[in-house]
Symmetry: C2
Subunit: 382 residues, 2 copies
């Protein structure tokens, strides 16, 4: 499936939760499949930290350019683009196309940098709703996301309950735990205290706070994997062909080599201000905050049907966090399906091939497709 | 109990596992209680990362100067200094008294810095054995430690089996997992890539790599606590009296404030090279390495009796790691007692007051004391 990125410009101010606003911004997005005549088969995909609007398919002439959820979405796949019109959108504040800290602030004529306004999950959802308006889509057959993307999917059901028929929330949580926030904070401190960060205005100094980005990514990778899969993949293996060197600075173990490599790669392409913004959006998300931490009350607004999926070895967004959501939805007598997949890969599992996981999502979208079709038939015969 | 630190100088070279050696070094130590006439009631305490020879008691005239295991060790306590002669010793490479990277290298006349040789658990145990020789102690009634200290206690039973009657190994492991090494590596990279590290020779530049030390300590603290206790202590509480500020750099949550405070404190007193050395000693420890990863075979050398203790919520040195040790010792038909304490505090639990934990250790030392006494009677009547 060959795909092309698109961009939509929005001149009007988007008011943000912080009180700030954003104007003259653009959203990068991609679409796969065809919108049906009733405009009733659209599925919005929300992305997590290190992802973008390029959700599925490949770019013509670019090797290894598969979208980040290409194993899930495409012709004949769990989310079948022959039946659904799938939209991937890049979040504001990202560094992959939509307006972000690396772009020019129209109010000052200078690069936003650290002045890019802090975004929340709710702000992203509002911006996504405007994109749907522009695309002429009133109601989503489904909204779907994993991790931070799952938080956006959940927030859609609370902010625009009448515009969502189904929500698929994978490896997510109703909010971050103290430990989650703690890991985010360490990563942010590593970036902010890197002398090359320059208070977030490093662009005009011609440098990038790579040291901080490397540390942030290394911490991230540890939390994405399970202890088990790390032991299986790396264990205590020494670097290939090398005896113990008795050095505090050289690589001794395979796991060190892997983490350094991941950190180096990430620091080459990811924006430091984007990292701060996205981890903060994670920290802030907490729909129960305005309901005295009563999640059941907070989720009362949601009216759609839900599929929730979690993975047993995910210690970043553990199954018990998904179960909190299930309980709160059931307290409101909502229609909820829940699958807890016994996968060894930790949080990363939501991006990987697991036949049980893809099977559950595929079966769920079969029922969504049937609803879409029978509603279409209803429309055409009425 | 008022105590005073002491120091012992060792002119002879100590050969190290790396092939390097150390000469003209000193060990800081403290002793509590009295060595009996038979010299049979000595208990050696080995310390973990951020600790020292100051294990118990207080320094006269110094407020809040309790030793790090003062809740465990003292007159009438679980390890009763009225019955035992307890020795605390500071490890080589530390920054709390014994010879370390901040001291002068007698071979060059300059501060060691990054040239201080890499130490292993085995090297520390050898240096501790020399201290015991100097104190005229041939056999230990017990050797005891938690975490990295537990690794030293275990290594004592393998390196000097005839010199140890009992080993008390708390919240420890037969080696680090890939995840443990990964966290150590991130902390080390944060220190080494701090521009103020200067390749480990920052002393002569009049600076300290505080940014790196702060990050290292923040990571450490996350791994010392359990998810549960973090949620209980901090949860998602905002900084006192402050509304959400929508800032990526200001403190928003209590947990951020706590971690920054811990990081700042640590960076004021801990030595960066020591941090690298100690985490590397943790990484390297693996008595089964030379036995094809067969822990049972590796522990066959141990002849003493063991008490192992682990804590249910400790995810740094999880109970299953202690159970590996129990199994390997039982495979060798060794005398092992094992207690898995249902404590909420994570790895930190080994330093905290828990009546069940202190009760188990106290009961174990009662039996050790009885053995010491009956042996003494045996000696005097023979």
């Amino acid at each position: 499936m060959f795909v092309s990125p698109q961009s939509m410009h929005f001149p009007d101010r988007l008011p943000l939760q912080s009180g700030a606003s954003l104007r003259d911004y653009s959203l990068s997005y991609e679409t796969y499949g065809r919108l049906n005549a009733e405009r009733s088969n659209a599925v919005l995909i929300c992305h997590a930290l290190n992802a973008s609007h390029h959700v599925a398919g490949v770019y013509a002439g670019q090797k290894d350019s598969e979208g980040w959820w290409d194993n899930m979405i495409g012709p004949g796949k769990a989310l079948d683009t022959e039946r659904f019109f799938v939209i991937g959108v890049n979040n504001l504040g990202s560094c992959f196309g939509s307006t972000g800290p690396m772009h020019i602030n129209p109010d000052t004529g200078r690069i936003y940098g650290a002045d890019f306004p802090v975004m929340t999950v709710e702000d992203w959802v509002n911006s996504q709703a405007r994109l749907l308006d522009a695309l002429g889509i009133t109601t989503l057959a489904a909204v779907m996301g994993g991790s931070l993307g799952g938080m956006q999917a959940l927030s859609w059901t609370l902010q625009y309950p009448s515009r969502v028929s189904h929500a698929v929330v994978v490896a997510s949580a109703p909010n971050l735990t103290a430990e989650n926030i703690a890991f985010n904070e360490v990563a942010r401190r590593a970036i902010v205290t890197d002398p090359d960060f320059h208070g977030g205005h490093f662009y005009q100094h011609g440098v990038v706070p790579k040291r901080g980005l490397r540390i942030a990514r290394m911490i991230g990778h540890i939390t994405y994997l399970s202890d088990d899969v790390m032991n299986e993949k790396f264990g205590r293996q020494l670097r290939e062909g090398i005896e113990l060197q008795y050095s505090t600075q050289e690589v001794e173990f395979q796991i060190e080599s892997y983490l350094r490599h991941q950190g180096d790669k990430f620091a080459e392409y990811f924006d430091a201000n984007t990292y701060l913004l996205i981890t903060r959006a994670l920290d802030y998300f907490d729909p129960a905050r305005s309901y005295g931490a009563d999640l059941s009350q907070a989720l009362a607004r949601a009216t759609c049907k839900f599929l929730l999926v979690s993975f047993t070895t995910d210690w970043r967004f553990a199954p018990k966090r998904s179960r909190e959501l299930v309980k709160a939805l059931l307290d409101n007598r909502r229609d909820v399906s829940y699958a807890e997949i016994d996968a060894p890969h930790g949080h990363d599992a939501f991006l990987l091939d697991d036949p049980r996981y893809l099977g559950v999502v595929g079966a769920y979208f079969d029922t969504v497709a049937q609803e879409v079709t029978s509603a279409s038939v209803g429309v055409s015969t009425s």
